[in-house]
Symmetry: C2
Subunit: 349 residues, 2 copies
């Protein structure tokens, strides 16, 4: 993947909707840059998606008792009814503390190469362990989580069924593995763009096709390609021109905190763009509420291009074709606490 | 309904499981005190449960943007996966403030004569307006709610379909009416006790039948009868012997705040007991985590009776027969915010 995508615009955008031949060419180019969301959850190495494990993972995803307050679950910040995130600039966690970065969507997260804005978790299982322990998020500990889950007979049985070969099924690690299995089912296939990639010319309207052509011509694809149109690699935010501190706060140096390499200052994982119209506000700072503005900022900051209003509108129209079918989620019934269940922690630590 | 239920125990409890004749007598007595949860939602005067209205009400029930923080929805404190409440002593609301009383379950709330621990709302529609506006809960205003809902075209359309005769469909009042319609569907029929009331002798085991007999003999039914085993009328907490301040905080005088009548000091609506095993901790103070302890406290405080361990266990076994079938809830998909949607309020007011 090219890291410095200063590809100049071609004239294609003006002629794209001219006829079937051109439409086919556009479709071909799109298929060389992107892939449709598969209709079924992917296979995860070392984590078979059994029904018992996925169902347990769903319960854990909605389980507020994984937080020490008993108020916050994964779904609080990755709300499956709100595009898989919380629509807040940065999340609110334990004791009403604010997290440092915008909550990414859980939908299609399984297709990202790594998790978090700085890619510090290799996969969803590793990711799931972070917020549970973070003081500003769920503020719990592995020991407390295990004590909590072991206090409820239904969880013990469900962990045994989900992890039949584990000697000790109820563990913090298995909690994370089950959550990963559930999250792998949270994919949103059949967006108009997916139907287009599969050959349905009419799935995108002319404006969206124009936006798609622009998206590729201007070089957005250098960072935003593949199945998730992003989420695969790391790039400096402000490659050409660094945005102001309100969008790119100076205190958050991104991937530098993970690698401690100078060239990783202000480097972030390129945001996956699936369902992007559902997940405002934008960027790791959550500072930008309008998708139009976010596209324009990307133009100047990453591509050194001042996109005009019509170009921005076309790209936004294309981005809205990335909204897929959200899976139907039946709310899980969680077992009641028992006398052995640790009580909610009343105070901010 | 008798307000001073100092009915002395009969000897029935010792002989209840002796044979079919006695079982029939017990069933008959039970049917004279209680009613089964109906299999279908009840009819609500002036609020027809159309599909459009119920579906809209479900969206609003799960809608965190009804709170000024955009974090808290009805489901936060009335969690349909946790017995319809939050399993906290008192709820956590806007800015991590603590509410004054334990969050009651939304399940079967439609069968209560009035809402809140002090009955200050006549019905669920009136109730729904309270937490949305309360500074310690969702901390919003009717104007902000209407502005929020009107900012999203899908909500406008759904309100129009749900309230086809309203000249102004998107209103705070209609929000509450739709939520009431949805909540009326959150009923939990087919508990073992319901099957027993309908004639299935084997639906309760001997211990539960013993508990049922005791429950009636000792006079618990004076306050806890009808379809919800409570929720119908108001009684002083500490009728015979007032519990300590940890269970009955001095600052909370209950219904006195509603009626300003001296005799209503420390008067509360009798708690409905449906699904009670799922809704710890107990009492308006949420101070008691164990159902056994709650039953024992009721014995001394309300009946002047020191129930022995076996009696407590029997009554608890009976109470566990009140756990019904929770309705399947499909998580609603909420429309994305628009440029006109009021932004979340960042700070505690």
């Amino acid at each position: 993947m090219t890291k410095h995508p200063l590809i100049k615009a071609l004239a294609l955008s003006l002629t794209v909707a001219a006829g079937p031949a051109m439409a086919d060419e556009l479709m071909e180019r799109a298929n060389s840059n992107f892939e449709p969301i598969p209709k079924y959850p992917p296979v995860i190495d070392g984590n078979e998606l059994t029904q018992a494990k996925v169902e347990l993972g769903k319960m854990l995803f909605f389980e507020p008792r994984l937080s020490s307050s008993h108020l916050i679950s994964c779904n609080t910040c990755h709300n499956v009814g709100l595009g898989g995130d919380d629509e807040l600039p940065t999340s609110i966690g334990h004791g009403w503390q604010k997290g440092p970065r915008n909550s990414p969507t859980v939908f299609n997260a399984v297709f990202n190469a790594a998790q978090f804005w700085d890619g510090r978790a290799a996969d969803l299982a590793e990711q799931a362990k972070g917020p549970v322990q973070a003081g500003v998020e769920m503020s719990s500990t592995p020991a407390r989580v295990e004590e909590t889950l072991k206090s409820m007979p239904e969880y013990i049985e469900r962990f045994e069924n989900a992890f039949p070969t584990s000697e000790e099924p109820v563990t913090f690690d298995n909690m994370a593995t089950a959550i990963e299995a559930y999250e792998a089912t949270l994919i949103t296939p059949d967006a108009p763009f997916d139907r287009y990639l599969r050959g349905d010319e009419d799935a995108l309207n002319d404006k969206q096709k124009e936006g798609l052509a622009l998206f590729m011509d201007r070089g957005c694809t250098a960072c935003h390609s593949g199945v998730n149109l992003g989420g695969q690699d790391y790039y400096p935010f402000g490659l050409v021109s660094r945005p102001g501190g309100e969008i790119l706060p100076e205190g958050d140096k991104g991937r530098f905190a993970v690698t401690e390499t100078a060239s990783d200052e202000y480097v972030f994982r390129a945001a996956p763009l699936r369902n992007i119209e559902l997940t405002a506000p934008y960027f790791h700072s959550g500072a930008v509420w309008s998708l139009e503005e976010a596209v324009a900022v990307m133009g100047t900051a990453q591509l050194g291009t001042e996109l005009d209003d019509e170009e921005v509108q076309s790209i936004v129209a294309f981005l809205k074709s990335l909204t897929g079918e959200v899976p139907e989620v039946t709310y899980p019934q969680l077992p009641p606490s028992t006398a052995k269940t640790p009580k909610p922690v009343d105070m901010v630590p």
